[in-house]
Structure formats: C-alpha cells, structure tokens
Symmetry: C2
Subunit: 333 residues, 2 copies
C-alpha cells in the first residue's frame, strides 16, 4: 500500500538558527513543501532586516530543496500599518506570545487589553495577515490553555475579519472554541495526537516528550484526534517540531519541545490508517492550510509513503527525535 501526499505543509515549525538551523532545516525541506517559521530567535524577529536575513539563512540551509519558508514576525503591539505594508510581501503571519510562556518568549504580550492591541491587529486585519497565538495563561500548567480560551474569544469577537490561529492546541476546550467563531482556526501537532501527560510523567519521567503546552488528559487527546482525523476544515497540521540539543533535554531543568520533523508524515500516515481515515490526511497536512492561509503560494511537491519499516535514527546531529531507535510502519520513498 502506498500513500501519495501533494505538497504537505507544516504550519508551525521551529528551525532555530546557526548550527541547529543547518541540522534541522533539511529535515523539513526534504518532505514538506513549506512551513510557517516561528520567530522566537534570540533576539526575536521583529524587523524587516531580521526577517529577510533569517529567510536567507534558511534558504542556504535547505540548499536545492523545493520548500518555502513562510516567515513570521514576533508580535509587538507597536507595529504600524505602514511598517506592515512595507514588509507584507515577505511576511506570512505574526506570532503572538504571552510574555515568558515558552522558549525565548520573554518579550511577549503581558496583558491582553484589546484597545492596546487594536492598532496592530486592525492593520493586520486590513492587510489580511493572520495572527498566530501561543494561547496559555500563566496559571496552573494543566489549566493554562483552557484559561486562555476566553482571550481567544475576546480577540476573535473584537477583530472579526482577522484570521486567528490557535497554535498547537491541546485541549477539548480549545477544540470546542473552534466552531464558536468563524475566524478561529487551529494547528495540531503530531505529538499531541499521540501522547497524554501519562506518557511524559506517568511511568518514568520522559524529558523528550516534555513540551509546551504540556500534553493533557486522555479526553483532550480524544477531542484533538477527532477533529484531526476527520480533517475538520478549521484545523491543520503544525508540528511545533522544536529541536534542542540532547544535553538540554536530558539535564536537570530540561527544555520544552519535541522534535518530530523527520518522522511526522510517516507517523501521521500510520495514525490515519489505523483509524480508517487515510483519505483525510491530504486535507489535514495541506489543503486545509491553503484554505485558512489565503496569502500563501504552495510549491508543487509529491511525497509517497509506503508501508515499509523505517527505523528512526537515535539522533539527527545532536537532536534526539521522537521515537528515536523505534521502528515505524511507513517510510517515505
């Protein structure tokens, strides 16, 4: 049995910079047509020069692969309409982080006062630039995302023409919000379709499965699986693949992030096949994104998966992938 995917997209990706960028970028550009590139570098991407420079460095890292990095800015409430117009051709979306909520997000938003955010969000709305949000409060770790849903809803109501992406949703509460506002959409990661907190901390502690938002309860995973497997038109695949060097994952004070880029399509194929929904995989990994992001052009690329064992390498460079050393059912051929 073989599965053909047209132009798969990863709508939430961390490529980092420098040596790490060179290690991980080819692992996405080989198999995906394009990806939304997160701007949380140190310092974050907030100017046209930084954005273009980063895009060029990504271009060098991927070599000849057919792959479009969809560039993003790190949200600041001081972006003017003129600035956004000047950068519009290079920019696909803007990513908003609550301050200090995840890796390199110290300069994020501290309050969610609609009037303070209005100038930038209205400009984005008029220029049809989507807003990607890492939606967590600074509350108790299992409640952070559910607590943020009211902020998603406040923003969706205040800016009804703004395309809002609830990034890497992990809860039933977020899934339920999708249908309440026309302009709310979501990305879902591979790992949140697979694991719950039990896999991270139910047996031995598994630092390679530690991520933000943290994996939640079985009923949350069920809600995510339902909309992903049916390819609900408001959800799309975004890996949130986030490489950290092995020493940063296996240390005391382990960094958050799961590295899935090189295994994502193979594992998604297996998951969708297991649930007899393989016909929905194309929409989940590409077509839905095209409909949600109206401002992207997608390079043609055909990926073929075959039911043939693939032993996941123990490491890519110094990064340990999810399922390191394990055997997957599907290979990319």
């Amino acid at each position: 049995m073989s599965i053909t995917l047209n132009s798969p997209l990863d709508m939430h990706l961390h490529l980092r910079d420098e040596a790490m960028l060179k290690t991980v970028a080819p692992l996405s550009s080989e198999t995906f047509s394009g990806a939304i590139i997160m701007p949380n570098l140190v310092p974050p991407v907030t100017t046209k020069e930084q954005l273009i420079g980063y895009k060029e460095r990504i271009g060098s890292a991927i070599g000849d692969d057919v792959f479009t990095p969809y560039m993003t800015l790190f949200f600041k409430p001081t972006y003017t309409k003129e600035f956004l117009e000047s950068i519009k051709d290079e920019l696909t979306a803007i990513k908003l982080y609550p301050a200090g909520i995840t890796t390199n997000s110290e300069g994020g938003v501290s309050g969610f006062d609609v009037e303070e955010l209005r100038p930038t969000l209205e400009a984005m709305s008029e220029l049809e630039i989507p807003l990607c949000i890492h939606g967590e409060t600074n509350g108790f770790v299992m409640d952070r995302e559910a607590e943020f849903v009211s902020i998603y809803e406040k923003l969706a109501a205040a800016f009804p023409k703004l395309t809002i992406i609830m990034e890497h949703i992990t809860t039933k509460a977020s899934v339920e919000a999708l249908d309440r506002f026309e302009n709310l959409h979501a990305t879902i990661t591979l790992h949140h379709l697979l694991i719950t907190l039990d896999d991270v901390a139910g047996g031995m502690l598994q630092p390679h499965l530690f991520c933000k938002p943290i994996a939640k309860r079985p009923e949350d995973r069920e809600a995510l699986r339902k909309v992903a497997l049916e390819a609900h038109p408001k959800v799309m695949f975004g890996s949130d693949s986030a490489p950290h060097p092995q020493h940063a994952k296996e240390a005391c004070g382990c960094a958050a992030g799961v590295f899935t880029s090189p295994i994502a399509l193979q594992v998604l194929a297996e998951l969708f096949e297991e649930h007899s929904t393989i016909e929905n995989l194309q929409a989940f990994v590409s077509d839905n994104a095209k409909n949600i992001y109206k401002n992207i052009t997608i390079p043609e690329k055909t990926i073929t998966l075959e039911k043939k064992s693939f032993v996941v390498p123990e490491k890519y460079g110094n990064v340990v992938p999810m399922y390191a050393g394990e055997t997957l059912a599907y290979s990319i051929v």
Copy 2:
C-alpha cells in the same frame, strides 16, 4: 528563636540497601528517633530472615545513633496468622503496593478483592499490625490517587479494626476520606506540602521533583497543608524520602523520588512558622504517629532548630537532595 522537637519520627522512609543504605541511613538517624522503613528492595522483604537481615544492615549503617528502624514486610495475600505471629516482635507494619505502581513494586497486589485479601488482613487486624498502602490505580496520572479512594474505603469498611495508613497522600480527595472512616489515617510528605505539578513541569522540567504519586493541583496542596499545619490527629509526617543516584534522576527516563531526609525538619519548621502554626509541629512530626501506631516504642531524642542559615549541600554521596545548593532559614544545632 529556637524550636525543640521531642523524638521526631519519619513514618515513611526508603533507605534502600548496600552502598546507598550506608549513604542515606545516617542522614535520617542523626535527626529522627525512628522511621517506618519501606520494604521495596529487590527482592522485596517478605520473610523473617530478610526482615531481620535488613534491620541488621540498617543498624550497621547508622552506627551509634539513637534511632529505631520500624520494619515492614512487603504485603502478600498469602501471609498466614501463624507467620505474622512468629514475626510480630520484629514487625511494625505491612506495606501494600498495587502491582507495578512505583519503584520495585512489580510483585504487588493486582486486584483488590476483599475475600482474597481477607485471611491476611484479618490476621493483621487481630494482631494489631497496621497496613500501609500506596494508593494509586493504574489510571491517568493525575487521577490515580483519587480513583483509589474507593478502594481505601472498601478496605476500611471491610476491616474496621485494621489500622490503615494512606501513604503519602497528595489529593483533596484523600484528605476528605480521612474523616469518613475511623480507621483511615495518612502520612504526608514534605515535598507534597511544598510543590504542585507546576514546580515539576510548569517551567523547565525538574526531574529532582518528579515523584510518585506525582505532585497535584494547587487546591490539593492546600488541602494537605490545612491538615498538616493544624496537625489533624489522623495525619503524620512521612517523608517518602527516596534516594536515587544523580545519573538515574537526570537521565532520559528519570526515576521517581525526592530526597528530603537531611532537610525535612528544617523546612517543616520554616513552613509551620510561616503559617503561625509552629506549636503544631511536634504533633505532626511525632505525637500523632505515636497515637496512630500503638505498637511502637519511641527512643528519647531532642532536636533543636535555630533560625540560622543552612546551605543545603549539592549532593550527599551521589544523591541530589531537594533544595540542593539553596539556603534554608533553619539549622539543626
């Protein structure tokens, strides 16, 4: 300001064996009068010979310290009344583990069929041997203890004369069960009075705070603090101090357990003082245990704490304690 404690007791302690026993036993025997010693060695302590041998090895490890190791057997439903009578003088309690629920618990109980457990539990009840239980189901990690409450209640109702200790309780649900059955009691650890899941996985992942049962929600910690700080007569201090070598805590697949023996009394003093309940500390760390365990004799020992900085060592042997390298407000003088 100084605080004097008479004969502090640690009613739940892991001393392990061999080199680790030699490292950690003196760190308890220095400051405590006695401790309930958990039997989950490899293999577990299930015979009189093993129990006496282990008690002797503990005796060698503590040297001249005035300290009584209260010995326990690893629960098996096949213990007869004759066997228990033959060992009664050496034995303080029996510890029941659900199979596979924590470190070295593979040989534990798989079902909680009252009739299957009846012969041993009735014998214990008649001989006045308390039953200590690690109360977790194999459900979702945040629900395991709350799900076990109905099993605690079933056993408490079926064996009303049996003293049952709900070990290292971590939830509001367990606290609430205390008052529903006269024969239910509980130990509470230091770390569950201090941390929630946020401290383990809310920021960076903290393997040294990873334990079983896992730290729960803020409202659970509040419920534990309430009964500990008021020294509710059915609760007593049990550190569940559980040493693992540093490499086993900071590795991929980190072992569960927090090592608190050498800092427990200092931190408890600070916590009780902060909450203006210092007059209850004596009951929490000793007197309540004496009333719950009617079968123990407690050596006289006076411990004095003074408000004087204590810098916690980075390691004791190869074991990293809680608050390693940090400064505590109280010292033992």
